[in-house]
Symmetry: C2
C-alpha cells in the first residue's frame, strides 16, 4: 500500500498549469441567444448613435437664448410652431421666439438647441407657451453621436456579453455575433462502492452523488455536461470511459474512486491513453487535496476527489476557471460570488501553506450577522446543504478567532431573506437585509492571523 | 399636454404591491435538469445516509483501545486480518489486537470503531502492521446516519436548488423532484420611433435596444422570454399585443414608448383590457421613475421606461423579484450581486426621497480600488456598457463625497481581472485581485451623508 504523500502544489500554481489550454473554436450566434457568451471579435460602432440630436424629455424644443432670464415670475413667451412627430424629422426650422412641441426620443428640428421640460412650461393658448426656467445649450438633448460615434471601439474580443452589451449590438444593427463555442464536459463517476441513484444501495454501497452535483456545477458554469458513465474500480472500464470522453467532449472530469487505490487507478487510466501527461497530483486546498490535473492530447482531464464536498471545492477553484478560459476569457481566477460580511462564531484552526474552504451558515440577529461553521466531514453532502456559503482561509494563515470579521462567499445569489416561513434544518435561510450590509468593517486579518 | 407629475411610490412600497401575485403551478422534473429551480415540496430523508459506518480515509480499521498510547517511538503492533473490498461488507469480526485494511468509503467491519490513516502506519510483513498514533472512537469514520437520518427534513418547499441540493436528492434516491414552473414573460417594445434592428433607421428613428437587453435580463433571471412584437404608438395595436401577451404568457413587459403621450397610451391600453387595474405609476428611483405596474386578470404587467438604462434598473429592482416570486420564492428583494468595495472618485449629488443607481467603472491601482461614475444619460446604452456595475444611493441620502467608501454591485460575476490585454474603451476591465478585497472598511456612511 503506497503512502499517499502527494507532491502538492499551491492553488495558484495549479491554475497556472491551466494556462496551456486555450480557447475553443468560434461560432456565429443570434444576439437573442448570446447573453453570457464570450465575444470572439472586437466590435466597433458602424455609425453614430443616435443619428440625430434627440430629446431626452417631453417638452418643447427651443433656441435657448430665447429662454435666458426666464423665471416663474417672469416667464418667456414663445410662439408654438407645431409638434415633432415621433420617428420623423420635422421640416420646421425654428426662428427667434419660437418653440416646437417634442416628445422624449424625438428629433430636434433645425435651429433648436435645447428642450424645456413640460414641467417648466405653461400653455397659454393654441399658439403660445410660457417658459418658466432658462435652459442651457443642449439641455435635455442627447446629441448626434453622443452615445457613441462611428468607428469607436465598443466591445473587445474575449469580453463576456452582459445584457447591456447585447443592447449596444442591437443599437448598431448587429443581428448575429461571433462568440467562442461553449465547452462540452464529460462526467465520469468511479468506484466499486458507487451505485446509480435508482438502485437501493446494497450493504457497503452508496448512491452516486457527484454525478448530479458536478452536472449542476457545469450548468452553473455555463458548460454543457455529458454523462459518460459510472466506472467500477477497473483499469479497463475506466480507460474506455476516459477515451470515449476525450474523443467526444472538450474536457473530462472523473470523480473518485474514493480510495487511494482507485485514485492510482485514475492516474493509471489517464497514463494508458496516448499522448497523456499528468500535470498535477495534489493541491494545497482543504478539502480537495488529492486533485489530479492531466492532459490527453490537447484536452484537459481532471481527477476530482470522491468526497462530494471536496469535488465541489475543486470544481469551483480549478475546473470552472478552465471552462471560462476555453470559452475565450483570459483570466483563470474563480468566478466572483456574491458575498456577505459576518463575524465568525467560533475559532477555526487552519494550517499554514494550505488554503481552507470552511462551510458556514449565516445567522442574522438584530445587531449582527454571524458566520457559523457547519460541522460535517467532506464526505457528507448535508454539510454543503446546510451551508449558505464558505469562508476562505488563506495559505499564510493559521486560523481565525471567534469574532473575526469574515467574507462569506454565498452559494446562491438567490439567497432567501426575511422569509416568514419557518426554516427546516438542512436549509436555514441566510440573514442580511435586502440592501447593502455595512455592519462589519472588513480588515486584512483573515490572511494574517 | 398633461403634466407628468406622477404619484410616485417608494421602491419598497412598489415591491410590496407585488406580494399580491403568487407562485405558478408545479411540475415534476429530473434532478439532472433541476438546478436553480424552486422546490414545490418539502424533502425529507427516506433512509439513513450513510447506511453503515464508513471510512473517510485509506488506512486500517481497528478497535481503538488497541492503539492507545501508540507513538512513533512506541508503535502498537496489530495483526492484519485482510481487507474490506469496496462496495461490500466484510464478514470479518475484529478481535483484540487485529486490524483490517480499508479504503476511503469502505464499510467498517464488525467490532471496528475507528480507522488509522495509512500515513500513521508501517507494514512490517504480510500479517503485521505498526500503528504510530492512537485514534479515538470513530476517528476517520462517518457513522451510519451521520450525514442525515431517516425522517430528517432536508430541504424546504420554496428553496431554490443549488448543486449540493441536487446531490442530497441523489443521495436519497430521488430521480425527479417537484418544482414550480418557470414564468414565461412576453416582451413588447413600443414607440413610433423604434425600428427592428435589421432595418437602417430612417431619420428620427432608432433601433430597438430594449427588446434585446430585456430578453437577456429575462434569461439571466431564469425566466423564459417570448417576443410579442414592436407596437407603434397606436392604442389598438398596443392593446392587441398586450392581450396576446396576457393570454399566452405569465407576465407582460412593455418598454417605452419614450414619450409621456405614449406612456399614457400604455396606461390606456392596459385599462382597455378586461379586469385590469393600474397598481402603480411612478416610483422614486433614478433612473426608472415612470414605471407602471398593473394587473390584468391574475397577471402582472409592467410598463418600463423606454430609456434602456431606466428599463434595466426597473427590471432588476421590480421585474426580477416578481419572477422569483412567481417561481415559488417568498422574498421580493433584488437578487444579490457580487460586490466590490471601492472609493468614489468624485462627488455624486442625489436627492432625498429618491433611490439613485449610479453606473460606475472600477479602476484598480496598486493601493486602492476606485469607483468612477460613468457619464451618460439614461437613454445612452453605452453608459451601461462602459460600466462594471452600479452604486446605490439610498432614499435618505443627499449624495456622496469624493473618497467615500461605496459598494459596487457588479454586472457580471465573470468580471475580467488582471488581464494583460489592452482594454478598449467601451469595455474597461474591472480591478480587484483574485482573492477577497479587504482594503476598504465599509461604513454606514452611504445612507447617511
Amino acid at each position: 500500500m503506497q503512502k499517499p504523500f502527494l507532491n502538492v502544489k499551491a492553488p495558484q500554481q495549479a491554475r497556472d498549469l491551466l494556462r496551456q489550454f486555450s480557447a475553443l473554436d468560434t461560432e456565429e450566434v443570434s444576439i437573442d441567444e448570446a447573453v453570457f457568451r464570450v465575444l470572439a471579435e472586437p466590435v466597433k460602432a458602424l455609425e453614430d448613435v443616435p443619428g440625430f440630436d434627440r430629446s431626452t424629455m417631453d417638452g418643447f424644443a427651443v433656441r435657448c437664448p430665447d429662454t435666458f432670464g426666464a423665471t416663474e415670475s417672469m416667464p418667456a413667451l414663445l410662439s408654438l410652431r407645431g409638434e415633432v412627430a415621433m420617428g420623423r424629422t420635422s421640416d420646421i426650422s425654428l426662428k427667434r421666439g419660437e418653440a416646437v412641441r417634442i416628445w422624449t426620443g424625438g428629433a430636434l428640428p433645425a435651429n433648436a438647441d435645447a428642450v424645456v421640460m413640460v414641467e417648466y412650461t405653461e400653455q397659454l393658448d393654441q399658439d403660445t407657451i410660457e417658459v418658466l426656467k432658462a435652459v442651457a445649450p443642449f439641455d435635455n438633448v442627447v446629441r448626434k453621436g453622443e452615445d457613441f460615434t462611428r468607428g469607436e471601439p465598443l466591445l473587445r474580443s474575449g469580453h463576456r456579453l452582459r445584457p447591456q452589451d447585447l443592447g449596444i449590438l442591437a443599437a448598431i444593427g448587429r443581428e448575429t455575433v461571433r462568440v467562442y463555442r461553449r465547452p462540452s464536459v464529460g462526467v465520469i463517476s468511479s468506484g466499486d462502492e458507487i451505485v446509480p441513484i435508482g438502485i437501493e444501495p446494497p450493504p457497503g454501497c452508496v448512491r452516486d452523488v457527484n454525478r448530479y452535483t458536478l452536472t449542476a456545477c457545469l450548468r452553473e458554469a455555463l458548460a454543457t455536461p455529458l454523462w459518460l458513465g459510472l466506472a467500477p474500480d477497473s483499469l479497463k472500464e475506466l480507460s474506455i470511459l476516459i477515451q470515449r470522453g476525450v474523443e467526444s467532449t472538450d474536457v473530462v472530469i472523473i470523480s473518485g474512486g474514493s480510495s487511494m487505490g482507485s485514485r492510482d487507478l485514475v492516474i493509471e487510466a489517464i497514463r494508458s491513453q496516448e499522448d497523456s501527461v499528468i500535470l498535477l497530483h495534489g493541491v494545497s486546498v482543504s478539502p480537495g487535496k488529492p486533485l489530479i490535473i492531466a492532459r490527453i492530447g490537447p484536452k484537459p482531464v481532471f481527477g476530482l476527489p470522491g468526497h462530494p464536498v471536496s469535488a465541489m471545492v475543486c470544481f469551483e477553484q480549478f475546473v470552472a476557471p478552465l471552462i471560462r478560459r476555453l470559452e475565450g476569457e483570459e483570466a483563470l481566477s474563480p468566478a466572483r460570488r456574491a458575498t456577505l460580511q459576518a463575524l465568525l462564531s467560533r475559532n477555526v484552526p487552519s494550517k499554514e501553506g494550505r488554503e481552507d474552504f470552511v462551510r458556514v451558515r449565516v445567522q442574522k440577529t438584530a445587531d449582527k450577522i454571524t458566520a457559523v461553521p457547519v460541522p460535517g466531514k467532506s464526505g457528507m453532502i448535508s454539510a454543503m446543504v446546510r451551508a449558505d456559503g464558505y469562508i476562505r482561509i488563506g495559505e499564510d494563515c493559521e486560523g481565525l478567532y471567534r469574532g473575526d470579521p469574515v467574507t462569506v462567499h454565498l452559494f446562491s445569489q438567490w439567497i432567501e431573506e426575511d422569509s416568514e416561513e419557518e426554516h427546516l434544518s438542512g436549509h436555514e435561510a441566510a440573514g442580511g437585509s435586502s440592501g447593502d450590509v455595512f455592519a462589519v468593517p472588513q480588515q486584512e486579518k483573515l490572511s494574517r492571523v
